[in-house]
């Protein structure tokens, strides 16, 4: 993958086997080997594959499946911190879900999530797709293309806590760089209060768009790179112009890849919480809270475990739907690109 040349030299060093294989001498192999069924299994005991997969799957059961079951269980009980340590909780059915779904705090956070999905996630995918195609189609110099790609993807590689403090600093209302730059350019005539109640959610979205536009960009760019050049050659011979090629060939062929970009960003949106913690802590007055943030807050700070579990289960169910959708498209694309 990284180094294609490794696959071209199967010799694996200077071993006698390697040298014989390099010669490709058919006499090296006994007859049964040359006439064997090509997809037959390697000669190992039956339990070996099971053991190989078993250990990692066991780990996943401990760190993913067990917690999920735990959450389901406590979402249906009136557990809080005290009761948990006294092992004294009782069945309440769907009461926690009712509490969550009817609370205005949850309603507000869903509205925030809607805003974030529209102006964060969707905008990132459209922006990323556009930038990826501009970069691939219009920058023909190879070196420049690589440099631009690295520059545009760089924000994605930053730890979220650095992104958070960096943007908090850039957007400091009184003497931040962005306010000053906007003032100097004459776009505003007084400082914007980035972290007040009406603005803080948008501030998080700005930082997030800067941080994560890179991901859909990378996904669409890699999708475009793997489209077969022969198709474009044919289109050119048929006299198709740039726009026709883009509309009739590139976009339809990238349909699944762009769908994946959307789904990936949507999955992230339901988990998104890093920048909320670092930049605003959900405030001021809960004006920038997202559902995942409330779940953490209720669970680990306010110790209302049953309610936090209900939040977590709601998020888990939405994620499960998105993950299923994602895997469906991923299978399609991987098949088309010859991976799976």
């Amino acid at each position: 993958m990284v180094d294609g040349s490794a696959a071209d030299e199967p010799s694996g060093g200077n071993s006698a086997l390697g040298r014989r294989l390099d010669r490709g001498d058919p006499a090296t192999f006994p007859e049964w080997f040359n006439t064997r069924k090509p997809r037959a299994n390697l000669i190992v005991a039956r339990w070996v594959p099971l053991a190989l997969v078993g250990l990692p799957v066991l780990v996943l059961f401990c760190i993913v499946v067990y917690p999920t079951v735990w959450m389901f269980y406590h979402a249906l009980h009136d557990t809080n911190m005290m009761r948990l340590f006294q092992s004294n909780w009782s069945w309440v059915g769907f009461e926690n879900f009712a509490t969550v779904l009817s609370s205005p705090r949850f309603g507000d956070s869903v509205v925030h999530l809607g805003i974030y999905l529209t102006f964060g996630a969707c905008l990132q995918v459209l922006l990323g797709a556009a930038l990826a195609l501009i970069l691939y189609e219009l920058v023909k110099n190879n070196f420049l293309r690589v440099v631009f790609l690295i520059a545009m993807v760089l924000p994605m590689m930053l730890p979220p806590s650095i992104v958070g403090v960096l943007w908090k600093f850039l957007l400091t209302p009184s003497n931040g760089a962005i306010n000053q730059a906007l003032l100097n350019l004459g776009l505003i005539d007084q400082h914007i209060e980035w972290f007040n109640a009406g603005m803080s959610l948008w501030t998080i979205i700005i930082a997030d768009v800067w941080n994560w536009t890179a991901l859909p960009l990378l996904i669409v760019y890699s999708g475009r790179v793997s489209l077969p050049p022969a198709v474009y050659e044919a289109a050119r011979v048929d006299g198709a112009g740039t726009w026709t090629t883009l509309r009739r060939i590139t976009l339809p062929m990238l349909k699944e890849v762009i769908a994946i970009a959307f789904i990936v960003r949507f999955m992230d949106a339901f988990k998104f919480v890093d920048l909320v913690f670092i930049m605003t802590s959900g405030g001021p007055a809960q004006s920038s809270e997202l559902p995942a943030y409330i779940a953490f807050q209720r669970g680990l700070r306010e110790f209302a475990i049953g309610e936090a579990a209900a939040y977590a289960i709601i998020i888990f169910l939405v994620s499960a739907v998105l993950i299923t959708l994602f895997l469906k498209y991923l299978k399609k694309v991987l098949k088309a690109q010859g991976f799976a």
């Binding site: 993958m1 199967p10 099971l50 631009f148 600093f169 999708g223 289960i313 998105l322």
Partner: protein, 279 residues
């Protein structure tokens, strides 16, 4: 659309990309010049767009407080430990999925393992908090994060190693058996060298994700063990944020992932980056 018109549109698009590049790079510029400013200069009412006096000693001054250096060490221990564990488990499962797809549970099993990468952490953190609390070493230790980061790193390692093992021809392994190699020896002498480059890039990716992680670290550790990701947001002296030191420290801390990313760039652009890269 006429040809000259297309030329104009083309330059508009390029200008748009140029603008985005500017937006992307400006925060980095600001981070670097702030790291070189004096504390007084960062607190001016009107910020300066170039430091009046350069203070490169900020990069050393950051480490005057030992806890900052320890944070990098903690992050390094956790990232490296988790990378080794992810790689070990991922190699086992990836090999089984590539060589014995049917016995190992088939395509669905492989996709189930991958799906854990996208799992919402909110459903994991709370139970794990109480589970680790009951262990002798407690929640606040390296082990907690080394194990928990497997949630997102092991599926990635498994999946990528599976693809690399598929690319390594099984005939070589079978031939090694004929030379009297045991399956284990054949694996180490023949197959492993073939997938080594891929393995190294998987290790780099896992390491980046573990190094950068914030959420689990923020919620589960913080007294005995403090990763740099939870130290950076708390860079204050009294009521004042030490912006210049904070930016200098964040520049140092983000250097490893940025360098690894540049080394990995060819691989990132391959089809495999299809969302598999980010959970």
């Amino acid at each position: 659309m006429s040809r000259s018109n297309y030329g104009l549109v083309k330059y508009l698009f390029l200008a748009f990309m140029g603008l985005w590049l500017l937006i992307t790079l400006f925060p980095f510029y600001w981070q670097i010049i702030t790291a070189l400013k004096s504390a007084a200069e960062t607190n001016r009412t009107i910020p300066t767009f170039w430091p009046e006096v350069l203070h490169p000693e900020n990069f050393v001054a950051v480490f005057a407080e030992a806890s900052n250096f320890n944070a990098l060490v903690d992050s390094f221990i956790i990232a490296t430990g988790n990378t080794l564990a992810s790689l070990f488990l991922g190699t086992l499962a990836g090999y089984a999925f590539a060589r014995f797809p049917r016995q190992a549970g088939g395509e669905n099993m492989a996709f189930w393992v991958l799906s854990n990468r996208m799992f919402p952490p909110v459903a994991v953190v709370l139970p794990m908090f109480f589970l680790f609390d009951a262990t002798p070493w407690g929640t606040d230790s390296h082990i907690t994060l080394i194990i928990l980061y497997l949630v997102f790193n092991m599926p990635l390692a498994t999946w990528l190693m599976m693809v690399f093992f598929r690319d390594a021809p099984r005939e070589l392994e079978e031939a090694a058996y004929l030379d009297g190699y045991t399956p284990l020896r054949a694996f180490f002498k023949v197959t492993l060298p073939l997938v080594l480059p891929g393995m190294i890039s998987v290790a780099m990716l896992c390491w980046i994700f573990a190094w950068n992680e914030y959420l689990f670290a923020n919620l589960l550790v913080g007294t005995n063990v403090r990763t740099f990701t939870i130290v950076i947001p708390t860079f204050t002296h009294g009521s004042q944020t030490l912006w210049n030191l904070q930016m200098a420290f964040s520049l140092i801390a983000m250097l490893p992932p940025v360098i690894l990313f540049i080394l990995l760039r060819r691989y990132m652009v391959r089809g495999l980056s299809l969302g598999v890269v980010k959970g």
